[in-house]
Subunit: 330 residues, 2 copies
DNA sequence: GACAATAGTGTAAACGATTACATTACTATT
DNA sequence: AATAGTAATGTAATCGTTTACACTATTGTC
């Protein structure tokens, strides 16, 4: 491998000069710069980022720690983060935790050992309680899920409002017996359930049911199935994330029930399937692109100013009214 | 930051000894090992992977270079690769190229500079021709798409057979005027078109049409729309990847045509939406988990044995017969 | 022409690990 | 008791950069 020494020798200068040329750090005689550039081109030299990283005590890498990149929300986030990072010359290490606090811990440590410049992290509830005293010695931006009592930058959705709006939409369209299905792994479930309950209360109603389950398709399926086979059946199901929405959808189909005639279905997050099924599913769309980019943005702001106070950016969800919650037939 | 020196001092030994304890390299007196371990725990020491990487001239990282992680096929691959890598203590750098040869080049160089141990790469056609002389100085496994004249490990699908089988299925179910829509960015399009044409020929038929377009939903939509609004309309559309399938599906819906009554639709790759729509879409399912794991497997085999000859693993697709290609009504 | 200031470059010490080689401390053999 | 052989550890070079500091060459000022 050709190193900076080879370039220095070829150009007849010292490694320091080569380094300065690369970093564009004056003073350098134009003539010298040319000679060095020529040598670099000649030898096809590319600086070793590992060495640079060791010397600089940080690398141009960002860790992305989420539960599962296959969750469409995180897929979109992942892509947005990678794009934003790419533009700044940073690359992204992908970490899937499966909502498992141990894997979360393991990955955070790994990223530390890799000397990443920063971390974008979506923690589980368990992590928040178990690792309440965890010290983020690396700049970290939390996304999607908040962490109490932590001085950390965050990019969140206004979950309470979004859930409120989504619930009001159901009410406006005539639904009254609304069952709520919420994820139990993160802070979003409880927050969204709060907006859900608030909206019902404000309208003098109470939830048909409120349930917290693991944020997986299977759990959504089981919970929805249980609801649908009861003697008393809800007229709408409110889900707090797309895994549960998918599970509920499958259950409804299994029961051969008509959406929205017999039961309405609403949820969070844009998915391809939610747009393609008939009727399409009403959801709160999260601005994934913006979340990802903002997270990277906050990270870089903190990198350039390590001791500014933590900032929380709260974004609004966008209610996409679609067929799955159309006005109820009388 | 606490380094190996601090540990050495605390344990009253040299850094070499600490290193040996960490690497579990005899001979070490059990008593010494204990003292070192105690110091490590005491100081909460964690080895610096960057330094280790510089010294070892390679890092425990794998680069994953694909067109877009949002493509469900690559999402699944990405997750499988990450899982397999994780089990071996490796982490994954995610690179999205958008089928852009320049980004491909850029990322390959970046991964080189990062001293990654290996690369898992799904190249575009353009890359294959433009960079025909590109030398992979880092162990690389090609997935999904082959590259001619390259001594490289590959994990591919038997595209010709899969397309053949899928086409035969359409024929068996009574479809005769089958239009083919193929991606033009990679080798999979041409290969799948080959199987498509072979199957038709073997049955004394010829394609209704064969078209190569950019593998995007929009292109699939345009191409399918053009087909549907023609005076002579196909009775089935064969698509070579899930982006095109999605575009064609939207076009069919736009034209308010009945699947499969008026037109059948088949494609490649498992997607959530394809399962959820009614009728669900018939596809060739690729064993994404196996592809990802095999790729990592091959990578490690090559790492431990750098000059064995290149190996190509060809996997079979799995035809999922579903409603979108049900037996044609007379 | 002496001196200061600045521009341009080189020298060498880091960064934190690994490891070839040197060294010391034992144990066994004669 | 001397010697050889091995076990256990230490010393110091190395990986490829960056950068504080030292140094020389050039220019300007009086």
């Amino acid at each position: 491998m050709t190193s900076i020494k080879d370039v220095a020798k070829a150009a007849g200068v010292s490694t320091a000069t080569v380094s300065r040329v690369l970093a564009n750090k004056p003073p350098i005689r134009p003539e010298t710069r040319e000679r060095v550039m020529a040598a670099i081109a000649e030898l096809n030299y590319r600086p070793n980022l590992v060495a640079r990283s060791l010397r600089a005590q940080k690398s141009a890498k960002i860790g992305l720690v989420v539960s599962d990149i296959r969750n469409p929300f995180f897929t979109a986030i992942g892509r947005a983060v990678e794009d934003a990072a790419y533009e700044k010359g940073y690359s992204v290490l992908m970490c899937n935790t499966d909502e498992n606090p141990e894997k979360e811990m393991l990955y955070l440590n790994l990223l530390h050992d890799e000397n990443v410049a920063g971390i974008i992290f979506s923690p589980t509830n368990q992590f928040c309680t178990q690792a309440a005293d965890f010290h983020f010695d690396i700049p970290t931006v939390l996304i999607d899920r908040s962490m109490q009592n932590k001085e950390a930058d965050m990019v969140l959705l206004d979950n309470v409002s979004a859930a409120y709006e989504l619930t009001e939409h159901l009410l406006a369209n005539g639904y009254r017996k609304i069952a709520g299905l919420f994820g139990d792994a993160s802070t979003t479930g409880p927050e969204r359930s709060q907006g859900f309950k608030n909206a019902l209360k404000a309208n003098g109603l109470s939830p048909f049911s409120v349930e917290f389950v693991s944020p997986r398709i299977r759990s959504g399926f089981s919970a929805a199935s249980a609801l649908l086979q009861g003697a008393d059946c809800p007229d709408a199901i409110f889900t707090s994330n797309s895994m549960l929405t998918a599970g509920a959808f499958q259950a409804i189909r299994e029961f051969k029930m008509n959406i929205p005639g017999e039961i309405a279905l609403v949820g969070f997050d844009v998915t391809e399937w939610g747009e393609f099924v008939d009727p399409p599913i009403t959801v709160i769309a999260q601005p994934t692109e913006e979340i990802g980019r903002t997270a990277v943005e906050l990270l870089f702001q903190r990198l350039s100013n390590p001791n500014r106070s933590a900032r929380t950016v709260i974004l609004k969800g966008n209610l996409l009214k679609r067929g799955s919650s159309a006005v109820r037939a009388k």
